[in-house]
């Protein structure tokens, strides 16, 4: 909401510097987005009249002008082509300053003296859409539409010596979408009186009925319609002061009648529309729903197709306006208009919002109606417009008003216990002060301690005690409310076990060189194909958004693998040679589709790594370290099948025989789909399950009392035999004496027969009960060797 400060001062006395005023308003709840000073920097730019134009002797594209600036005639050389003798133009004199800070000095243009500059709208930073209609906006010099006193400062002529405050109006305060509303807030904030604008009150006369009749056919969508008629109109420009105010408020002046309706809309917040009476069939205004596919050309000369949900203003024949949004083109006020009907109504905000959206048309009017306007305002605003019409001599107001207002709303009454001020706000405010504050906002207040508060009709946001408390708090000043800490004796800050485990996991993974990443929870449906998921893979049952921002973000992910590969691809393509990443975030698993209940949200841990010479075992090592950080011991890694992975390099992780996740080298086709020409290793694990398996309760195991003895063995086995099998044989057959089995070498090559491999192990023997003798160990060791030979055909390498 743009508010020119000079206009505001018509209703409230503001005796503060602009910055202080803005601070006061912000602190009482009217937030300010910006303050614009019009004509800032402009100095010594005045009105001049071109009295003579001559050719330049040395330059074809330049002309020499003599300009009367009141006190003298100055010679100015210009390249402009749009000026003629007799034009009134802005003249930047020698020593003047333009808005951008440029200083103008006299000079010599191709041998002819020039003592200043004629200015274009651009150079004065005048904005085209705000200038009066008919202003020549071609690239040339700005030519005034009328004869101003010569030598007059153009800041005064163009009304540029003002400040415009842009207020941010929250949804609950449509009453502040008006100069008067802001003035009311300012008056309450500064403890000043509010001066209401003058109106033309109609008499009981029925004369207006001779000119027009109305028919409201949908009371729900149009609970009030007021109409007055103006006759003997002379259409012309509105006075400059009114044009200035409109321009500064972002509304383009058109003609006196239209400008007055717009002026009142800005002043009071109530939109209204003037119809040329002679263009209304049977001089009738009907408010009805549009017919299906009914057509109308709106004022912006666009053809629009309506449906039954849209409310229109119509005559007997056709729609003449979209109610509350925009008037129709063919009932527009024109220069020959002599009689108008001004329609001033209250429309259902939801209906206006829907229609505005349907038509893709948002106007100053619709943006006010859709927030819900005060029902009482319609007649007041209409009478204000009539007052201005008479005052400006734009026409004669026909006596009487047609006012369709069948269900007058009762004012809301709130019982308010003043003790609740301290109870909620923690401040002591005298009852008399509470009453003064509320009265300054036009609440009617009676009672003492227990107050009866009558809420003004324009404050539909005030519903209950808490709302009254807010009014008191903001006028008291949030700044003046003391700051008080809460007692901390009875609540203790806690994090859940899960949060602790997330922390442990993140610390463990970052310590191993992984970077935590965060990716979007929505992905492209094509991501399933990119990671090669089988058609029947349940991960494809993803939840779809009705209104995604694009196809690429249209479904909720069921796996983070695609996100991970995408970011690895991005890093690789930005010439980052290697990287290890992880994310712990949610995936969304529908119990059924379409959703009829909230889905399961499962935290998963996804790890991805590429480059850096990493292989499967680097990834496996990271996972094993993590498991040990989480104190999880009973896990197994076994070969697996998964379409996203290299078929020979993929495994699943089982904890207590429950599958927790899958990891391995990504399938070459998949990494190709992501344009990564390197091996990529990825794992994804059910983090919620990891949390369940984590034992945060660690217990100390006594340090060994007896010495250990190591034996190294090297065995040759067939390629089909896995290290896991051998490990298991060694551990089970070694009974309780094997403390540790460490595979330290794997060899395939010329020394070994094709199809076989050599594995070298270090076996550490130890007993918790005694020092092992050579005999004890040999017995256990031989048992292991025999079992290896029998069960997997292992041959001891000498």
């Amino acid at each position: 909401m743009l508010v020119p400060i000079k206009w505001l001062m018509d209703y409230v006395d503001i005796d503060l510097e602009i910055n202080d005023f803005v601070d006061f308003m912000i602190m009482s709840g009217s937030n300010v987005e910006s303050v614009k000073e019009t004509g800032k920097n402009i100095d010594k730019v005045v009105v001049g009249k071109i009295i003579e134009i001559k050719d330049h002797p040395n330059a074809e594209k330049l002309i020499i002008t003599n300009v009367d600036v009141g006190s003298e005639i100055v010679q100015i050389v210009t390249g402009a082509t749009n000026i003629k003798e007799g034009d009134y133009v802005p003249v930047a004199l020698h020593g003047s300053t333009l808005p951008d800070g440029t200083r103008i000095k006299k000079g010599n243009l191709r041998g002819v003296e020039s003592k200043g500059m004629l200015c274009s709208p651009d150079e004065l930073e005048l904005e085209a859409e705000n200038l009066p209609e008919g202003t020549d906006m071609t690239d040339g010099i700005h030519i005034f539409e009328k004869e101003y006193p010569l030598g007059e400062d153009i800041k005064k002529v163009l009304g540029l010596d003002d400040k415009i405050i842009e207020f941010e109006i929250t949804n609950n305060r449509p009453d502040c979408l008006s100069i008067l509303g802001i003035a009311r807030e300012a008056a309450a904030t500064l403890k000043k009186d509010l001066k209401y604008p003058q109106i033309d009150s109609p008499s009981e006369s029925k004369e207006v009925d001779n000119y027009i009749s109305i028919d409201v056919r949908n009371i729900d969508l149009c609970p009030r319609l007021a109409v007055r008629v103006i006759k003997n109109i002379t259409i012309k420009s509105s006075p400059m002061w009114m044009q200035e105010r409109l321009i500064k408020s972002g509304v383009r002046p058109i003609n006196n009648i239209v400008d007055i309706t717009n002026y009142v809309m800005l002043e009071l917040g109530q939109p209204m529309h003037a119809y040329d009476l002679k263009k209304l069939n049977k001089r009738k205004i009907i408010v009805r729903n549009a017919n299906k596919n009914e057509k109308i050309t709106t004022l912006d000369e666009k053809d629009r197709v309506l449906d039954e949900s849209v409310l229109v203003i119509a005559d007997e024949e056709r729609a003449i306006g979209v109610a509350g949004i925009m008037g129709g083109f063919d009932s527009e006020i024109e220069n020959d208009t002599r009689e108008v009907a001004i329609e001033c109504a209250n429309f259902n905000p939801v209906s206006i919002r829907k229609s505005s959206k349907l038509l893709g048309l948002r106007t100053e009017a619709s943006s006010r109606f859709e927030k819900g306007l005060d029902m009482e305002l319609a007649s007041f605003a209409l009478n204000r417009a009539c007052y201005l019409i008479e005052k400006l001599g734009a026409g004669e107001v026909v006596d009487g008003i047609i006012d369709f207002y069948p269900n007058k709303k009762n004012k809301r009454v709130i019982k308010f216990d003043t003790d609740r001020v301290k109870w909620l706000l923690g401040i002591d405010v005298k009852i008399s002060e509470v009453k003064r504050m509320l009265k300054s906002l036009e609440f009617e207040v009676t009672g003492n301690k227990m107050l009866d508060i009558i809420v003004p009709t324009f404050r539909d946001d005030i519903m209950m005690e808490a709302d009254i408390n807010e009014e008191i708090a903001r006028l008291y000043g949030y700044d003046n409310i003391p700051s008080k800490l809460m007692d901390t004796t009875f609540t203790q800050g806690l994090v859940s076990d899960k949060q602790k485990i997330v922390d442990i996991a993140k610390n463990c993974l970052t310590a191993q060189g992984l970077f935590e990443v965060l990716t979007y929870s929505f992905v492209s449906p094509s991501s399933f194909n990119k990671i090669k998921l089988n058609k029947d893979n349940s991960s494809r049952n993803a939840i779809k958004l009705i209104n995604p921002i694009g196809e690429d973000q249209s479904i909720m992910r069921t796996t983070i693998i695609a996100n991970m590969l995408e970011l690895i691809s991005r890093n690789y393509n930005r010439k980052v040679d290697d990287g290890c990443f992880f994310e712990i975030s949610k995936v969304y698993l529908a119990k059924s589709l379409p959703l009829n209940e909230l889905p399961e949200e499962k935290d998963v841990l996804t790890i991805g790594m590429y480059g850096g010479g990493y292989d499967f075992y680097d990834l496996k090592g990271i996972i094993e370290n993590l498991l040990s950080a989480l104190n999880i011991e009973n896990y197994k890694v076994v070969a697996d099948n998964h379409e996203t992975f290299h078929p020979g390099k993929v495994a699943k992780l089982l904890i207590n025989n429950k599958t927790i996740g899958v990891f391995g080298e990504v399938h070459p086709i998949v990494i190709d789909n992501f344009d990564i020409p390197l091996s990529v290793f990825v794992g994804e694990f059910d983090f919620d399950e990891l949390v369940l398996q984590t034992d945060l309760d660690r217990k100390y195991k006594p340090l060994p009392k007896f010495p250990s003895i190591e034996r190294d063995i090297a065995i040759v086995v067939s390629d089909e035999i896995s290290a896991g099998q051998i490990d298991e044989i060694i551990r089970t057959k070694g009974a309780k004496l094997v403390e540790k089995v460490e595979l330290f070498d794997v060899y395939k090559g010329s020394q070994i027969e094709e199809g076989y491999k050599s594995l070298a192990y270090k076996i550490v023997y130890r007993s918790s009960e005694k020092t092992l003798t050579e005999k004890d160990i040999t017995k256990a060791h031989n048992k292991i060797l025999n079992s290896l030979a029998n069960q997997v055909g292992a041959i001891l390498r000498q």
Partner: protein, 339 residues
Amino acid sequence: MKDNLERIKEESSDAIKKVQTLKQLDDIRVRYLGKKGELTLLLREMGKLNPTERPIIGQMANDIRNGINKRIEEATINLKKKDLELRLQHESIDVTIPGKRKKIGNKHPLTKVLDEVIQIFIGMGFSVAEGPEIETVYYNFDALNHSETHPARDMQDTFYITEDILLRSSTSPNQVRIMEKQGPPIRVIVPGKVFRSDQIDATHSPMFHQIEGLVVDKGITMANLKGTLEVFAKMFYGEKTKTKFRPHNFPFTEPSAEMDCTCSSCNGSGCHICKDTGWIEILGSGMVHPNVLANCGIDPEIYSGFAFGMGLDRIALLKYDISDLRLMFENDKRFLMQF
């Protein structure tokens, strides 16, 4: 004999002085004190002396032997010291050659900032909770006192899955979930992802992060809201941080306030980060709306509370002086390494 002893004393003393290496020193020890050393041999002839001379010469020989031993010992220490100095000299390295660094990773900057915020609130007695990211319209809007026509409900602003299920547009639904699950006293923060239908640009993202806070108890006033959030601001941005509470409007709090902090990068004097205002908007807050309390079965006549919500991404951008929000979700390693 006496002369010989004197000579041995002189000669050995000179020899020890000239010695350069431990080997030479050992040679000297052998030459004089070894089994066939000069002093040893001389002492064997002690028997030939007459009994009156014997103790005197014996004493003298002993003194000389002790003297030699002592000098050898001293020389050994000196030589070892020299040797060590020499070795250390040879072993000196170029300390400016880069260190061998183990690869370590890093938490995401948003996690780091969140951890900091969580620690501050835990210190003030808050617990940490979480809630679903896919929410019902009821929790996201209805129970939070949004009118039927509130614009936030629009498809333009909020992502919908069905008519009744959506991606939560703020962490505020957790206020309701927590109040329903747990009666007062409540003191909790809920961090999490939220979603709004914004195109991705330098300051907008369809997914971002919020931290919700909720306190409900008997006797909670707006003074507590101010006190708590001021402490947070001072702990997060520094002791000198000032705060400003401005009236605002949220459907689920009444009265409502936005909190600004003095810009931590210019201390309030104005800079590019605070757009020359000296202030930065940090969070929205307010006293829990009585309708919301009632919706959750808590009597607003007896209990009161306050709630607040802040944008984690925004706080992190400001803290690290990052100008483009997209960097947070691109996950470029060179970006992630910097925090």
